[in-house]
Amino acid sequence: MLRQVEGSKAVADAIAACKPQVICAYPISPQTHIVEGLSQLVKDGTLPNCEFINVESEFAAMSVAIGASATGARAYTATASQGLLYMVEAVYNASGLGLPIVMTVANRAIGGPINIWNDHSDSMSQRDSGWLQLYAENNQEAVDLHIQAFRIAEEMSLPVMVCMDGFILTHAYEQVDIPTTEEVSAFLPPFAPRQELNPMEPVSIGAMVGPESFMEVKYLAHQRMIDSLHTVQKVADDFEEQFGRKTGGLLRTYRTEGAETIVLALGSIIGTLKDVVDELQLDGHSIGLVGLTSFRPFPYDALDAAVKDAKRIIVLEKAFSTGTGGIVTQDVKEAISGMDINCFTVIAGLGGRPITIESLRNYLINAMVENIDCLTFLDLDTHLVEQEIMKERALR
């Protein structure tokens, strides 16, 4: 049923429809409305047989999820920004133990300076954590990705982060179709843990693994992540079959047929970019768009197929690696190595800086003729930063 609803509320309802058994949460903007919604649903009985635990930190939130998941319960939490960083030790532990926890990351910048607005610095910092990372383009996809995430996680026995842009999506009111519990149950079978803590069949989980076996354990995790490429796509296909919506999956192309220039991006900026691509095509430009849903696992083959006829790729990123440049760009370059395609990076929207159609259009017009640097910071106040650089260097 279509409802005009806030993104966070829509996600809370979607999570409830997935019937998690343990939800734990610590407040941090812009994630809080999700768990507020869930606490209400647990307390008023809408979501029965679910324990809602108010914990004392994000580190505890992920730890409670670990204990719950290892005991065979479907576990969920949500966080953002500093909260994600505070739980990092447990984030790696969850994937290392192969626990299918689903977590929403309401993407937000990392301080300092403290900044509560949107970019992708938080989840990108967890690139190598062993979690799957799926990025939502809009609130409908955020809803659908969470439902798909539980199935992917439990099929692969791997944890999944669903990343949705903080404020831009979490606080936006859009028309969203939220499947009912019955509809979700038909898509998502009950959690059947691969192993669980059970006094009748005692297992030791979390043993110390030494040099003689650690490499093998990590290699197997690597292979499982690669195998999950198939699962992510298959679950999206199954979802489309049942719900009639094409959401999730590895990546989606938009007007890429014959395009010489392809823009690649993640998250809500894809919507804006679609408008820009439409405008530029109207003006006769040869440009298309690839929206990357699955950042981990990274869909090398699918990306190759999507861009094989292009001359250049522009990777738009809402995070970067200080001192080098784009983070997603590194993977894109790996994917297209050996192909005759140039790759450029544009960093945009850091700390909630609005990314306007006008700025994107101006940048892309230059990008299409490669009249740009390898690395561009969109709408950077160059006058200001040059002054600062001169001052700083003079003091050294």
């Binding site: 058994q21 734990c24 065979g72 576990a75 026995s157 691969r194 354990v217």
Partner: protein, 330 residues
């Protein structure tokens, strides 16, 4: 003890205990018919107080619950010496996650059991003093405050032994550790610092707080059993001497634990809902010196010359415990 066959593997990581080894390469530790929650053959040091305490505590908990028990373990000696892959010494459903999160993981286990409608299986979490009073204090306090249905057992050997005997928040004054060396004007650990976790636990008004030592294993067992008759957050603080870290003879572990109680330095008591209800009386009061002298971590108090000022200070601490917890008398 049940004859349930034990399996060894790590969830999802494919670090599957003995599964990667041929039958004839597997150790005695993998014999599924062995007994005890923590079986013999683990890699603890000779005379390890923690191994002894953990075995008696968990055995008692298993008996009290009819084996319907899940144990959560913090990182530390107990975890390292009991589960070097591909072996495990645990004959109980056992989960180790991290150093500082055992209370929160146990909360998650208990929540999962409730959500699944399992009101029979009980949860014990355990860790050393570093995991408990320092790095895991936040999650432990959270677990207390929510009154989660977990018995948390701290095996206190008064320093970070697994990493090489560094000072923890539970290290007593004057004790030498790798980070409080017996040099300078004030050798060993400083006075006036450290935290006494049983009182912090009592401040949460949780149903049950108790202390025990491995010098009185029947008392330890009785306290575990009593704790398992209750619901909610319960805390048991067990003094477990460490021959390696304390510089004591392996054969003196129990003797030293007894001297800790008989000197008054380690009060043994029980508290219900935040109030002390009983304490174990000292049978034969001894000066703290008798306790200190058996441990090289205090040797700087006796040579090259005797440091009466510090020894007296420690004696006053013991005297204060004797008064506060009413350790003398019937």
């Amino acid at each position: 003890m049940s004859a349930t066959q034990i399996k060894f593997y790590q969830v999802g990581s494919f670090a599957v205990g003995n599964r990667l080894l041929r039958d004839d390469e597997r150790s005695v530790q993998s014999d599924p018919d062995r007994t005890n929650a923590l079986t013999s053959g683990h890699r603890a040091c000779q005379g390890c107080g923690e191994a002894l305490g953990a075995r008696y505590a968990l055995d008692a908990a298993m008996r009290a619950t009819g084996d319907q028990l899940i144990a959560v373990n913090a990182t530390g000696c107990l975890e390292v010496f009991s589960t070097p892959y591909p072996e495990s010494s645990w004959r109980v459903a056992w989960l180790h996650s991290l150093f500082g999160n055992a209370p929160a993981v146990a909360t998650g286990v208990a929540a999962a059991l409730r959500a699944k409608g399992d009101h029979t299986t009980r949860v014990v979490a355990q860790g050393g003093d570093g995991a408990t009073v320092d790095i895991g204090l936040g999650p432990l306090s959270g677990m207390f405050e929510r009154n989660d249905d977990v018995l948390y057992i701290c095996y206190d050997n008064e320093a970070y032994m697994n990493t090489g005997v560094q000072r923890s928040g539970a290290t007593p004054p004057a004790a030498r550790t790798a980070t409080t060396q017996a040099v300078g004007a004030h050798p060993g650990n400083v006075f006036g610092q450290g935290k006494y976790l049983p009182k912090i636990a009592m401040a949460h008004d949780i149903p049950y707080v108790a202390t025990a030592t491995i010098a009185d294993l029947r008392d330890l067992e009785a306290k575990v059993e009593r704790a398992m008759t209750m619901r909610g957050a319960r805390y048991l603080h067990v003094l477990v001497p460490c021959p390696l870290g304390w510089g004591s003879a392996s054969c003196d572990t129990i003797k030293i634990a007894r001297l800790a109680t008989q000197s008054g330095l380690f009060p043994v008591f029980e508290a219900i809902n935040g109030e002390v209800v009983a304490s174990s009386k000292i049978r034969k009061l001894v000066p703290v010196e008798e306790y200190l002298k058996l441990q090289t971590r205090y040797s700087h108090l006796f040579s090259p010359q005797r440091n009466d000022e510090v020894i007296d200070h420690l004696q006053r601490m013991a005297n204060k415990n004797i008064e506060r917890y009413e350790l003398m008398g019937e």
